[in-house]
């Protein structure tokens, strides 16, 4: 590769990763200020793990992310398969619109819907439903893309060789879309765990998620504790991606 291409590549990656690295670095900085390196400390992590409110918010976030992405994966897969099978114009529109909708709009409309129409008490369930709502579209898109790249006669061959529609789904469709489901699940998980705008509208007063907690802390002052929790979040995401890519080659085997 040409030297200038190397330089450009390096620049792009630096732009992407240096801010993240700084956050991680300063989470170990023995100073209240994010300006200057003083010395190594684990104080911020200690403080973080003693922070009751933060721990509750983190637990909430993880639980909601796990549950909402699981449900969204199932529903999104169904939507993706339906979009593939019945090539109507309106179905993709209905499924994908929430993805393209400005978050603030989705937040306000969900808030109005929960309060005015359903008369639901805002809290755990309203957050869960909101997260499922914006995740379904992502899963559906990946699943449909995966199916679109597949030889249609595979499914006919399965039926032809004696598999019922359910057996065809179980033995052929499901294994073939598994990489898409994994990707969709991970996307939903990360979307859910870091969602701020929509959650802000539908959370109410009882339940707080990690992004809401971080925001409320920053309102007071930027504490290195925020760096610490961000670093942990990064580590979690990186681990997820690591496993996803480790899983993918196995799942993708033979699908060229």
């Amino acid at each position: 590769m040409k030297p200038w291409l190397w330089a450009a590549t390096l620049l792009v990656y630096a732009f992407l990763y240096v801010p993240l690295a700084i956050v991680a670095l300063f989470s170990f900085n023995d100073s209240l200020l994010n300006a200057q390196w003083v010395g190594f400390t684990l104080d911020w992590y200690r403080k973080l793990f003693a922070d009751e409110a933060m721990l509750t918010a983190a637990a909430n976030s993880l639980f909601i992310a796990l549950l909402s992405s699981s449900i969204a994966t199932v529903l999104g897969a169904m939507a993706g398969i339906a979009m593939h099978r019945w090539r109507t114009r309106w179905l993709p529109l209905l499924v994908i619109t929430p993805v393209a909708m400005p978050e603030i709009l989705l937040g306000v409309s969900l808030l109005l819907f929960f309060r005015q129409v359903l008369d639901l008490t805002l809290g755990f369930f309203s957050i869960l439903i909101a997260h499922i709502t914006f995740s379904i579209g992502f899963v559906a898109i990946v699943v449909r893309a995966r199916l679109a790249g597949m030889d249609e006669s595979l499914f006919e061959a399965a039926r032809d060789l004696g598999a019922t529609p359910w057996q065809t789904f179980r033995h052929i469709t499901l294994p073939l879309i598994l990489p898409a489901l994994t990707a969709g699940f991970l996307m939903s998980f990360t979307l859910s765990i870091d969602d701020f705008v929509i959650t802000f509208f539908v959370a109410g007063v009882g339940v707080t998620t990690l992004p809401l907690q971080i925001y409320s802390m920053i309102k007071v002052a930027v504490s290195p504790e925020v760096n610490a929790v961000s670093t942990l979040l990064m580590a979690l995401t990186a681990t997820l991606i690591f496993f996803a890519t480790r899983l993918a080659p196995e799942l993708l085997k033979g699908q060229r």
């Binding site: 030889d151 006669s153 595979l154 399965a158 032809d160 060789l161 598999a163 019922t164």
Partner: protein, 363 residues
Amino acid sequence: MALLELRNITRRFGALEAVKDVSLAIEAGEFFTLLGPSGCGKTTILRMIAGFDAPDAGDILLDGASLSGVPPEKRPLHTVFQSYALFPHMTVAGNLAFPLEMAGVGRAEIARRVGEMLALVHLEDKADRYPHELSGGQKQRVALARGLINRPRLLLLDEPLGALDAKLRLEMQGDLIRLQREVGITFVFVTHAQQEALALSHRIAVMRAGRIEQCATPDVLYTQPANRFVADFIGRINLIEAEVIALTPEGARLRSATLGELLVAPPPACALGDRGAFALRPERVCIAAPGESVELDQRYAGRIRSALYVGETTLYQIALESGQIIEALEANTSPGRARRYEAGDPVIIGWAKEAGVFLHDES
């Protein structure tokens, strides 16, 4: 009773009639081919037999029982797809085991039959490979083996050799015949390649625009085509406009604008005054040098227009004095020279009265 019977099958897609009132009877043990250009409805018929599609009118019967409303998985027949449709997430052995697993066959029996089938298609060493690790010919053999392993009453093959190169194609044709004779399963084969159809089939149905033009054995199709379409679709043929001017016990006398009067024997099924085409296969035309004495019913003087040398044969185009172009095929059997004539050479061509047939136009 026929193994498979199609009774007045019609299938419409919107305004298009893809299959029009087709009736067929296929006997047990037969290698039956549906032959026709793309879009003639042959694949639609195959899909209706397999159960992926249903006729708008008519009925399909297997062993005398209607298949109407029977889902594909309940039909005792399998399909070999043009794309092979091997399951990419399963090994070769896994692909072969699939129909047996679906049928609830026991583990030990599955292992035994997979081994047996792999041996039959010479892929014993490929059992643990994934489809993407196989060559085109190997994939083809796995697809065939998977279709046969559960001993279906009928194997449907949708242009299974379409994706292979010419040499491999020829090899697989031999394999197909061997397999079919060995397992004794009825094959229904769909193709647009006429040579393949002639080489493989016991009987062929030639289709055009949703209809069967002729259904016969390969040699009958070749030597006694039912009409111009069949004559032209199968092999090479000279078609010359002609009219019946006399009918005698020994033959029919035709008149053509370019060939004058000619005799066709034995008399074809036609009436006085019928218009149609005199059809003559290139290999039935004899070529002689001027002055050479030849015993032929029809003789014409002409000039070689082009000579196409293809190794074992040479295809000549001869321009007659009337302007009519006749194609003649000669086997290159004499040692030494590749071809006997060059473009521009004056020649005498001719044929026996039994060499051609008269195909009258449908009115």
